[in-house]
């Protein structure tokens, strides 16, 4: 018999339909993957099963957990089930824990609230559970507070809370999306081992096909509130039926077509760059220690080249980016653009040679400006605004596949992918030689991401642009760059032609990164 049996689940929020007739079954002790892009309704499916739907949501249908219909169970009884027989963990570990309570208290609370143990016993069990999720007593005593832990460690605490009562079903909603790739691999491994050893079932909700292909037994693919395809992981990847599944798969492994035509002329030279930050004082009257965010970095970027820079959060790539853009000064070393020195005080004409596209399509634009003014902002670098400014904005918009008529609109009228196109138009408007792409496709759904990568490849061929492509996502870097630098703790640990580095990594850290990256099965057929 299935552990969880969902039949004809419909959901609307304030009358807007979100889920349409979902049917799926989860067997005891299996990993059930739900994959979909944003807006597919995958998170709402989980919240419906937990009985934690937002206000205004109306659900119909049934979701039986061993005979109990979770949708019709009254709230009082649901409280007895949640955390006890069915548990859930969420995407953002940084905010998932109460900042003013110790981790021990928060894990013990699960046991206390269900009346399974006295406070003292609960703390003892909490200790065992924290050990179980890889937070040993020596380094993580029960009286630690969440702010003393990293994101990955906090996610482990959240998992310990969720498994404290050995629930039959654990729902994990994008549990690793906010984490670095090596941390992601560790958390996924932990979840997998919990499923095997504790005999619980796991519903893993993710946008990442590669993650489900790694660990799920069954997969459901969701699109716009419907399950378009479901089956065993092996079957699905061997023999995709639905066009959307095929499209998703193709987009996930998309490699844009482009011509590698790097010239031998250096555009950007970084020589022994060092940048440090003051850390909090240890003693009141002693000089605060300094942290080397960028530690002796050197590299050269050639004309027409796509250079990748990969590394996990905190490796110093953002600091390096800011120095290259001439926003922050270096402590020592040099950055040269076309042979001229890059500093915060560099002349506007030099500044015009390098432009940037950021990660967040929502925070990249002043919400009170119209697109014309947004795209034209870099004209500030020119001695005077060109007379044909409007025509040039139209041309830039056209080259990224937007309409000149979009000039009169505000940014909130566009989707994430369109905003990223507008951001590229803004970077193109001065016809620079170098564009820094700072996680420029990381926040996008895979199908949109594939389109933007195609656009970037096309632009670099047509306009002979060079890219410095900064990303934590190795598969994207592999798809679009000629050469790659691997950065760790402020230093470049490995560099070389992209294919060489990916097929024959030399440094242990590069190997670790590659091993941690979830991969789509090689024998998959779209």
């Amino acid at each position: 018999m299935s552990l969880l049996s969902v039949k004809n689940l419909n959901l609307s929020i304030h009358g807007v339909p979100i889920l349409k007739g979902l049917d799926f079954e989860v067997q005891p002790g299996e990993v059930f993957g739900i994959v979909g892009e944003s807006g597919s309704g995958k998170s709402m499916t989980a919240l419906a099963a937990m009985g934690l739907l937002p206000e205004g949501a109306v659900a119909s249908g049934t979701a039986h957990l061993e005979g109990i219909d979770l949708l019709s169970t009254p709230e009082a009884q649901m409280c007895g089930l949640r955390g006890n027989r069915i548990a859930m963990i969420f995407q953002e570990p940084m905010t998932a824990l109460n900042p003013v309570k110790t981790i021990g208290d928060q894990v013990a609370e699960t046991l206390v609230i269900h009346g399974r143990a006295s406070k003292a016993e609960a703390l003892k069990i909490a200790r065992e559970k924290l050990d179980r999720v890889g937070l040993p007593a020596a380094r993580f005593p029960l009286d630690r507070y969440p702010h003393e832990l990293s994101g990955g460690q906090r996610q482990r605490v959240v998992i310990a809370q969720a498994i404290a009562l050995r629930p039959q079903l654990l729902i994990a909603d994008e549990p690793t999306t906010a984490l670095d790739v090596t941390t992601q691999a560790q958390i996924l491994k932990l979840l997998k081992s919990l499923v095997n050893e504790e005999g619980m079932a796991l519903i893993l909700i993710t946008h990442d096909l590669a993650v489900v292909s790694d660990i799920a037994d069954h997969v459901a693919v969701m699109k716009l509130g419907e399950i378009v395809e479901t089956g065993t992981t092996v079957d699905i990847f061997r023999n995709m039926q639905h066009p959307y599944t095929k499209q998703l798969f193709a987009a996930s492994s998309h490699v844009p077509e482009r011509v590698a035509d790097a010239k031998d002329a250096p555009i950007l030279e970084v020589v022994n760059a060092v940048r440090t930050y003051a850390m909090p004082r240890e003693k009141l009257f002693r000089k605060p220690p300094r942290f080397k965010a960028v530690n002796d970095v050197s590299f050269t970027l050639f004309q027409g080249e796509n250079l990748g820079l990969v590394g996990e959060s905190g490796c110093g790539k953002s600091t390096l980016t800011r120095a290259i853009l001439g926003l922050d000064a270096l402590d020592s070393g040099q950055i040269r653009l076309f042979g001229q020195s890059v500093t915060p005080a560099m002349p506007n004409t030099l500044r015009a040679g390098v432009q940037v596209v950021f990660q967040d399509p929502y925070g990249s634009f002043n919400p009170r400006w119209k697109v014309e003014r947004l795209v034209a902002e870099p004209f500030h670098l020119m001695v005077e605004k060109p007379a044909d400014s409007r025509a040039r904005v139209a041309e830039a918009l056209d080259s990224v596949g937007m309409k000149p008529a979009d000039m009169g609109k505000y940014i909130h009228e566009f989707s994430g992918g369109q905003r990223q196109r507008i951001a590229i138009a803004r970077a193109l408007i001065l016809r620079p030689d170098l564009i820094v792409l700072d996680e420029a496709v990381s926040a996008l759904d895979v199908s949109i991401r594939a389109q933007i990568l195609d656009l970037l490849a096309d632009l670099s061929d047509r306009l002979n642009l060079s890219y410095l492509f900064i990303s934590h996502d190795l598969s994207v870097v592999r798809a679009i760059t000629d050469r790659v630098l691997v950065m760790k703790a402020g230093q470049i640990v490995e560099s070389g032609d992209t294919e060489d580095v990916f097929t024959n990594p030399q440094h242990a850290y590069t190997r670790e990164l590659l091993a941690a990256t979830p991969r789509l099965p090689d024998n998959a057929v779209a």
Binding site: L325, F358, N366, L381
Partner: protein, 273 residues
Amino acid sequence: MRLPRTLILGGGLFAVFLAAALVSFLWTPFDVEILNIPSKLQKPNAVFWLGSDHLGRDILSMLMVGARTSIAVAIVAVGIGIGLGLPLGLWAAANHGSWLDEVIMRGNDLVFAFPSLVIAILITAVFGPSALNAIIAIGIFNIPVFARISRGAALSIWTLDYILAARVAGKNAVRISVEHILPNIANLLIVQGTIQFSLGILAEAALSYVGLGAQPPTPSWGRMLADSQTMISFAPHLALFPGLAIVFTVLGLNLMGDGLRDILDPKIRRSRR
């Protein structure tokens, strides 16, 4: 877009008093500077709609002129607060983490240690009592309020990518503050401005009540309350109407502030969507 009920109600209430203040420049039922002892202490009637005080002056006329004082003091005080607090806050945010930021914020903390009454006491002790004192005292207290709120809001905007984009476009901190930060914190300032406006009305009333604000013969609501105090047991209307005037003006402004927040604050708008 449908306007929130609070905004309509609050705006209506405040508009009544604003109109009364404006009309008082052209016309009042009676001249408030002429004493009319024979008709003193009248209950509300057909001639004196809201009654008359112990010197025979018409309460309604005095309320109208008093509205002028209250609103003028509060407006100028808010103006001082925004005029000085906003640039200080923007400046501190633009130099976040530097000694300049630290100095501005510590200066703010220092001013917060002087409630506006205390400032008014100090100024009055030195320069003697006047309505100007009330303006300066309330205005000074408003400076750190606006400095703090604009710094906080500006700081969160400084972390956004469009600020980085503007810096890549070669714009300096002043230009970024004016072009990008200011339009995006204007909503917050409008809402806070309404709140400080209402607090200003209350503070002005309190200061003139204890004799640190507008001086006789200039009518002010607080002064009228102070005069009525000894007669409250046999002429409660003298205390009732100025008090109600204060309550309704402040209530109107607060409701307006709530309504404005509903339509202007993007945080709330987002959660409604």
